[in-house]
Amino acid sequence: MYGNGMTGAPASRISDFLVPKASFFRWLDSLRESFSVVGPVAEEDRTVFREIASADELHMEYASTMLSPGKVYLYSPREDLFRISFGKDLTIEEPPRSPVQRIIAGIHACDTHAVFYLDRTFLGAFRDPLYENRRSNTMLIALNCSAASRNCFCSSMGAGPFLKAEKGYDMLLTDLEDAYLVEIRTERCRVLFNADATQSADAEVFRRKEEKERSALRTFTKTINTDGLDRALRENPEHPVWGRTADERCLSCANCVMVCPTCFCHDVVDELSMDMKTVRRYREWDACQDARFAEVHGGNFRARRTARLRQFVTHKLDQTHQYGVFGTVGCGRCITWCPTGIDLTEMAKAIQTRKA
């Protein structure tokens, strides 16, 4: 399922290189001619993913960003689906597919896994053509993390800090101080790669990579025990931690699910023009923390805040039968950006240890 083959054939030839950073960034800069290159950029005191005008703007040593690049650039916060016109005949037009060829550089391991998760939603039995178009027009240059942030627990979820997947993205970088270990994963990326001063990566380089990984793993402060986790949550839907957290702390503000890189929920909205001649049908991210989300005529299956909070947490830590994987990649964003600091790993722990 990884990547659904969206990123083309696997690289066929030797494809691991040691590349001086300056040389790597020169190469990346050269790609801006034919690609929109998006990467982590320091703005004020935060890092955000946006299109760069020069590789000098990149801040590759960033901690987590508020929004994940995959959710913003492959999915999209708001996007037109159809333009419908009433005239003599009712016509339904799809907006033209974006021809933009994009590179997302420096996407962390967890966020790369989050893209694989979104693939499950948008490239499943029904394929979303807008997502599919962008996914195949986007090259992902993943970056292994050197250190965890305060709320990261990707190591518990098998989604980081180093990316273990072999498919579904185009290139993997490991920071080796003055050089990157560049592992090329797809043929289309190999064809493109012509940085100067590269040398092929030998066993010694991979030994350094392993060392880096071990040191990155030592920086984690947050963990979660996934052993029997889904069952523990399923069997304790009325554990007091749900109601207590919802009543005392949860604001139903939906920041958690908006920043979550795997949350795929959206609304479909019709906007009529004032002259009644056209309709713009678009989708935009929606949130299960909103009371209206599950409302139907005559009832609301998640009218209670407790139920909504539980939906979020169990969708991340239980409900594994949906896609066969956990819904969280352990990026910690929902914890960081919750105004009251609600921490799903703490809630899980309370339930796992049967503490009230």
Binding site: L272, M274, A291, W337
Partner: protein, 256 residues
């Protein structure tokens, strides 16, 4: 198709909603073309306040007894009636006077109190049933557009009811509450403004009013932890929503 007959009525407020509707929003010309303006003081001399109306838009807080009577008449002569703007929807700024003894407040404004006949301020739905709320100060473009086009298309309007935070995140704003500790009301405030204030790095003032599922006590607790005093917090929750009598209503909202 005949154009729907529109009446725009103003009670205690700044008339900003009427200006927003007819001058400032993205489609003023289309609005004027799509509706037959029967009564609207800011665009039409005279007019027929007695109606009948297909749509009445009512702005302003009800602060005098005659306004309540007038409002009931408008309701009778209108097929649809929407409250528009923070004043009509939540009480808004004019309702601030409910927070202090009446004579004291009035004495701050008027030298001679004898001709003043004001009553306790209330939003319009304290007196009549309304068909929809176009929230905000000034009213949000999206809900205003939805309201007007829904009337034209003869369908039920779908207004936003989630938190401002949702729109704030859609815009990719760094959260000023979480990142910088600014006391933002966004998490409890009804969306619709496209996160106007947080986008300008100003904490939300809650001009769209508390959303239905707001957990006001939990946000108040958060504000306390940021060092806000009880009176600071009280002011935050009552600036536009004084009529909700702060925590009495907010408490009820805790479990919706």
């Amino acid at each position: 198709m005949t154009r729907p007959r529109l009446g725009f009525f103003k009670f205690s407020c700044c008339a900003g909603c009427e200006f927003q509707t007819f001058y400032f929003q993205k489609h003023p010309a289309e609005t004027l073309a799509a509706f037959e303006i029967v009564f609207a003081k800011m665009v039409l001399r005279g007019g027929a306040p007695e109606g009948p109306f297909d749509l009445a838009l009512v702005e302003g807080t009800i602060t005098e007894a005659w306004q309540a009577d007038e409002l009931k008449k408008i309701r009778k002569s209108s097929a649809l009636l929407f409250a528009i703007g923070a004043c009509a929807v939540n009480g808004g700024i004019p309702a601030l006077k409910a927070l202090a003894p009446e004579l004291e407040v009035e004495g701050k404004v008027y030298k001679n109190l004898s001709p003043i006949h004001s009553i306790r301020p209330h939003p319009v739905d304290a007196y009549i049933q309304v068909d929809g709320y176009i929230r905000g100060c000034p009213p949000g473009e999206r809900d205003l557009h939805e309201a007007l086009t829904s009337v034209l298309a003869q369908k039920k309007p779908g207004f936003l009811r989630c938190a401002v935070c949702v729109e704030c995140k859609l815009k990719g704003n760094i959260c000023i509450l979480t990142a910088y500790g600014m006391p933002c009301m966004g998490p409890v405030t009804n969306a619709g403004c496209d996160a106007l204030c947080p986008t300008c790095k100003r904490p939300c003032y809650s001009c769209f009013g508390l959303m239905k599922q707001a957990n006001a006590p939990a946000l108040a607790k958060k504000f306390r932890s940021l060092g806000l005093s009880e009176s600071d917090i009280r002011r935050k929750f009552t600036l536009f929503d004084a009529d909700a009598a702060l925590f009495s209503k907010a408490d009820k909202l805790n479990e919706d």
